[in-house]
Point group: C2
Chain length 321, copies 2
């Protein structure tokens, strides 16, 4: 199989940590990001320049951005909600700002306490500030594949919001399955339409594994030509609508599947598994990653001790398929 490049964008230190009750100290964040910078990611979403009151977990955004070592070839992006946040981000020399609003009116009002039009006006101001620099702009459209309050989202609505931001000159758009409502045939159709209509936009898909479909949806997006995915180390990142459910698609599980399927992610799977294994110690609880528990596909197990006739000493496992 010829190898096809897929770009992996790590969001654990932003989308993951912002949901954690325990504050991960600044030096630890910096050490983690420096480790991740050497792992082959195309992009790392470092932090968020929001109000420290709104998201205390990321109140050290400046210190983290100034503290990390920037590695050539990695795009360092940060979430920015408004002009004030953009100015803070620009003063730290970020490579990209990531703006966010929801395709669903209800979710935008709940998440951002604004109407969509208010959000759009605010983000337009951000874009006009950032467009004066050479910093790239990405827009993440939340609830693009379903809203937990409104239900289905029409594909045409997603494309309309993409168009409005494309018209402002952003370089990339991320379609976010914020609460894990996407399903494969929907993903196929949406990605195919988006790629046709916005061929020059950098398109990222951002899946959550809330209902177990994140990797299946990834296959559907790949088949529609998408080559760029957000993912979160350990599967960090929650969903306030589904307490106890898993979060973002787990980076190590995504990379593991893609590499087995012949894609080139450039990500060092062993190195990110090492980093994932340290996450529970940082946040104080287990992470959703199955791969961390099970090991990679070819991490083989020793056979049990065998007797002289070549059979195990004792019945090790019950019959099972």
């Amino acid at each position: 199989m010829s190898s096809k490049r897929v770009y992996i964008q790590e969001v654990a230190t932003r989308d993951g940590f912002q949901n954690e009750a325990r504050f991960v100290d600044t030096e630890t964040k910096i050490a983690l990001i420096d480790h991740l910078s050497a792992c082959g990611y195309a992009k790392i979403e470092v932090t968020s320049f929001t109000s420290p009151k709104a998201i205390p977990a990321l109140r050290d955004a400046e210190a983290v951005m100034h503290g990390i070592q920037r590695r050539k070839g990695v795009t360092y992006t940060v979430l920015v909600p408004n002009v004030r946040g953009a100015e803070r981000a620009l003063s730290c020399g970020v490579d990209e700002v990531n703006l966010v609003m929801s395709v669903s009116e209800s979710h935008n009002r709940t998440n951002l306490r604004m109407s969509r039009e208010q959000s759009f006006a605010q983000l337009r101001d951000v874009i006009s500030v950032v467009n004066k620099t050479d910093v790239a702009i990405n827009v993440s459209l939340s609830t693009a594949m379903g809203c937990p309050m409104e239900g289905d989202i029409q594909q045409e609505d997603v494309l309309r919001w993409m168009q409005r931001f494309a018209d402002l000159g952003v370089h990339g758009v991320t379609l976010c399955d914020t609460t894990g409502m996407a399903f494969p045939s929907q993903v196929s159709a949406l990605c195919a339409a988006a790629r046709v209509r916005f061929a020059s936009l950098e398109l990222t898909l951002h899946f959550h594994n809330t209902r177990g479909m994140a990797l299946a949806n990834t296959l559907a997006a790949l088949a529609a030509g998408v080559d760029r995915f957000d993912a979160s180390l350990g599967g960090l990142g929650g969903c306030p609508y589904a307490p106890g459910a898993t979060g973002n698609v787990c980076t190590e599980e995504l990379v593991h599947m893609l590499e087995l399927d012949g894609y080139d992610t450039a990500v060092d799977l062993a190195a990110i598994l090492d980093a994932s294994a340290r996450l529970p110690g940082l946040i104080g609880h287990d992470v959703p990653s199955q791969l961390l528990k099970a090991g990679r596909r070819l991490d083989l197990h020793a056979q049990p001790c065998l007797t002289a006739d070549g059979l195990p000493e004792q019945r090790a496992f019950v019959e099972g398929a």
Copy 2:
């Protein structure tokens, strides 16, 4: 999208319960199976006629088979390891016996304490007994997509074991990803080859979600024309090589995805979710099902209380994509 029939086979009361430390009492098993019988499954693997010493969790196989109400249209199958087990199963009037051996020599010796040739000889004896009746015979080939001790399994080896059983007149073969080592492109290739070579065999795929790929692998199998899947309610069913990892593909997550994608499973998703919700009470611990925690895709959430300007009373959620 035209609706395509997919057949769902429930294995929780066999593959799931056999891994549980707590004995689920006979009346509870019967009530659960009677509930599942009305849920639209094509097949239910009720229990296992193995030695009560080997699998005490299923020591009540006869009582369960005699106690359940048989519903027309549902195939009631049981696992059978040898002629003695087959005779016990036949005396209970099962519709099908399911035989099991591993494609990997190491796994067969570990799991069944026999070489593969010894297993084949034993199963050939079972087949010759059952072939004198009108009871159907399925063979489950374990480790068909990878062995936790040997690693990769050659596709040709899988097809060779299928051929040996096809030659004995079995009506169906299940390819089992026993420890969750399958990946999508492998599944595509194996399923396509198996369907071409054994067009008249009923082909089932049996996935485990050990490394998160069960639903992605299902998509790959569907694309290769497979229309029959084993699944386990709640995601019950463990893997002795990966403590703490998830088990079989979760029935409700499989059905949820398939129905969203336009397939007709005939399974009543609400009814199986009700049954899954009762599992933790039966086995004494949480189940891996994400869908049980998150709810179905369109199980909508109320908006938070709004103020006069149509905004939430308080910031409900942090900004996030």
